[in-house]
Symmetry: C2
Subunit: 121 residues, 2 copies
């Protein structure tokens, strides 16, 4: 069973993977098939829908990467962590905090909050 | 329907209410009967169990009060906020971030994370 931090790292890796096949493999290794995702801007109710959400965000911010902002924290089936999104090597333009409910070693549900929203949106 | 911030304020007020009858009334006005609560230290699976958890924390820290640490943030059925616990007028000894899933105007589920843990525990 992955640690909270490893689960968060694998989650971020999926968000950063732009190769569709590799991203699909990462998602399959980390998300339950019926995993859900919701944040103030979008929602997905299956692993394949989440794949589509990630692809859409990558298309909108093609030069940006997600990074964990500090270590993840977890207990029981619950994990939380903060992240930053921005151009490689530059200050982040968006930040957020995600809450995850695990189902065993997989992600069952993600609820995302925004801590910093891009000024242009 | 209460705003995210009002819901958080009412939640904190219940945690601070030491009169059993008034606390029960506050809980009834804010939590669903089958509301759940979980944090790294304790768990409750009904409003009455949550009442018992609050009474236990009050008994352990009789001179302490909870306060919201900044405004609550919410979208859809989801609310998050941070809090601080400490003696009135002194620096907090514990801090945390709670994540709530609403059921309409009521709290359906609380997942609590600890940001600062009392040194004595």
């Amino acid at each position: 069973m992955r640690s909270a931090n490893k689960l968060a790292e694998d989650y971020i890796a999926a968000w950063n993977e732009t190769d569709a096949k590799r991203r699909s493999d990462l998602l399959a290794a980390t998300f339950a098939p019926d995993a859900t995702y919701v944040d103030p801007l979008m929602r997905g109710t299956s692993r394949s829908e989440i794949d589509g959400l990630i692809a859409a965000v990558q298309g909108r911010f093609p030069e940006f990467r997600f990074a964990l902002a500090g270590p993840a924290d977890g207990f029981g089936d619950y994990v939380r962590f903060s992240w930053a999104l921005g151009p490689i090597g530059a200050a982040p333009v968006a930040k957020g905090t995600d809450f995850i409910v695990r189902r065993g070693d997989a992600i069952g549900a993600v609820t995302g909050f925004l801590d910093l929203v891009p000024a242009a949106t």
